[in-house]
């Protein structure tokens, strides 16, 4: 453990460089640059709002806020896990050349997405105020889902990045899986309108839904469903432990498959 902390300290600067690189390169050679982290969720929110209010007649004033809370969290989860999945392979040149603790690569994928995610919360703040969803004391609860979703992504990412070294198909499989998770996360519909006794387990099993639900409680000013909180935190902890185990067991064999 002490060794782990020492080596983490030594390579912390490398980690920050990796994170910086991923954010920088994502927006390089686009005219608006980092502004896209704000613009992109705003535009998709507008599209979704128009589609769902005009076509399906769901006309409530706070609907855009509802969409944004779900979509921002989900986009972070899917984007960061996909980045982690690809991270080992995309840094093959470095891995083959110089020794660096290998978990730095998936971790940097998660962290860089987390940074852009936190920036994009500005959009949520502005839209909330415009649409009359004002902050209450309940908002402080938001810290909990914001922390839990990070570890949820980290645990998932560690597992995915390990398996993806040995099976390239995983990239496509995970793309499909995240789509399923998206529809089971109640991003643009209200759970009550869809959930029945027969299918409510889909939401209950989905830790991403739990995180989103908690986050919405905080934003809209109400107590969080602590059952969901406990479930999401438990799943995250289990995934991080499992991911760390799987990753460290297999990391020495990565280089043979790159």
């Amino acid at each position: 453990m002490k060794e782990f902390v020492e080596s983490f300290k030594k390579y912390a600067f490398f980690l920050s460089q990796l994170v910086k690189k991923e954010i920088k390169l994502k927006y390089r050679s686009s005219y608006l640059g980092v502004i896209w982290t704000l613009l992109e969720p705003l535009l998709t929110m507008i599209v979704l709002t128009v589609v769902f209010t005009r076509l399906f007649g769901r006309d409530t004033n706070d609907y855009p806020v509802y969409i944004l809370t779900g979509r921002l969290l989900f986009t972070f989860y899917s984007g960061s896990t996909m980045a982690a999945l690809k991270s080992v392979r995309s840094h093959a040149g470095m891995i083959k050349k110089v020794y660096v603790p290998k978990y730095m690569y998936p971790l940097s994928g998660i962290l860089s997405n987390y940074v852009t995610f936190l920036i994009s919360l500005i959009v949520l703040a502005v839209v909330s105020l415009v649409r009359g969803v004002y902050p209450t004391l309940w908002l402080f609860q938001a810290l909990v889902p914001l922390i839990v979703v990070f570890f949820l992504a980290l645990g998932t990412g560690l597992i995915l990045s390990t398996v993806a070294v040995f099976f390239r198909d995983l990239e496509y499989l995970w793309g499909v899986a995240t789509m399923i998770i998206m529809y089971a996360s109640a991003i643009f519909y209200k759970t009550e309108t869809v959930a029945t006794e027969r299918n409510i387990w889909i939401f209950r099993l989905n830790p991403v839904y739990a995180v989103i639900d908690n986050f919405r409680s905080a934003v809209f000013g109400g107590p969080m469903d602590l059952g969901l909180t406990a479930y999401a935190a438990g799943v995250s902890a289990a995934l991080v432990v499992l991911g760390a185990f799987v990753f460290s067991k297999n990391q020495d064999r990565f280089i043979l498959h790159l």
Binding site: K10, Y11, F13, F14, S16, Q17, L18, K21, K24, L25, R28, G93, M94, I95, K96, K97, V98, Y99, V100, F166, F167, R168, D169, L170, L173, D252, I255, L256, H257
Partner: protein, 253 residues
């Protein structure tokens, strides 16, 4: 000799590759083959029980024909590749000059890569900042330093890689035929830098097929053959053994 400190010990190191006869890297194929019990493995020993140790200031030449395991040995010592058996103990910082510039990010400019690459080698931030000008000056890339590395020639990449890697004073330097980097002028400069390190008593591991360089630069030598250490002695003796009938005659098979 007893008062000299040992900086590198390679103890009975083996590297075993498990090769599937055909490369299976997608799930469908793996499952089908697994069910048909058609996963054939072949074990291949890239290194087979290699042991040696170096004292501070030793300059070791590693000789052997292609595929004898020289690069594998260097990768194990650099810590990039994990040995299947045995132990490597090293003291101080190891600087590998292997495939210079292979870890660069192509989209990144030269200047940005100095920080990225330097941090990857474990240099602290302040150190890179302090040495930044020195690196830029040594690489001598002119205005290319602010352009993406993808626009560099391979020689320019190698120059930058060399400049970053050699800005520290390593305790153990690993050289894989890199004394011939860049154009004539840079070659001279890089050779001088390496000679300076030699003079300062850096321990060096050196892979080369260049007879003159080995005889001139190295003090010790080992010869590898199909992963096994077959000779160990002074650099001159090792070179003689490597060039002799005993080695060359059999390696043709």
């Amino acid at each position: 000799m007893a008062d000299k400190e040992t900086v590198l010990t390679v103890d009975n190191v083996s590297v075993k590759y498990r090769l599937t006869e055909e490369k299976v890297d997608n799930l469908k194929e793996y499952v089908i083959r697994f069910l048909k019990r058609d996963l054939k493995y072949k074990d291949f020993l890239a290194l087979d029980g290699v042991s040696f140790s170096l004292e501070k200031g030793d300059r070791l030449a590693i000789l052997g024909s292609n595929g004898a395991g020289k690069s594998t040995l260097l990768k194990v010592i650099a810590g990039v590749l994990k040995q299947s058996e045995g132990e490597v103990t090293k003291t101080g910082n190891v600087v590998p000059l292997l495939e210079l510039g292979a870890g660069f990010d192509m989209q990144y400019s030269g200047a940005e890569n100095i920080y990225l690459y330097g941090s990857m080698l474990g240099y602290p931030k302040d150190f890179i900042k302090a040495k930044y000008d020195e690196i830029v000056e040594f690489a001598d890339l002119g205005e290319f330093i602010n352009m993406p590395v993808k626009n560099y020639s391979s020689g320019m990449r190698a120059r930058l890689g060399f400049a970053i890697a050699t800005v520290v004073e390593p305790d153990i330097l690993i050289l894989d035929e890199v004394l011939s980097v860049g154009d004539a002028a840079f070659k001279k400069k890089s050779e001088k830098k390496i000679m300076d390190m030699f003079d300062k008593g850096t321990t060096v591991l050196f892979v080369s097929h260049n007879e003159d360089q080995v005889r001139k630069l190295c003090s010790k030598g080992i010869v590898l053959k199909r992963g096994k250490l077959v000779y160990s002695g002074t650099a001159n003796e090792a070179m003689d053994f490597y060039l002799g009938k005993n080695y060359q005659g059999n390696s043709q098979k």
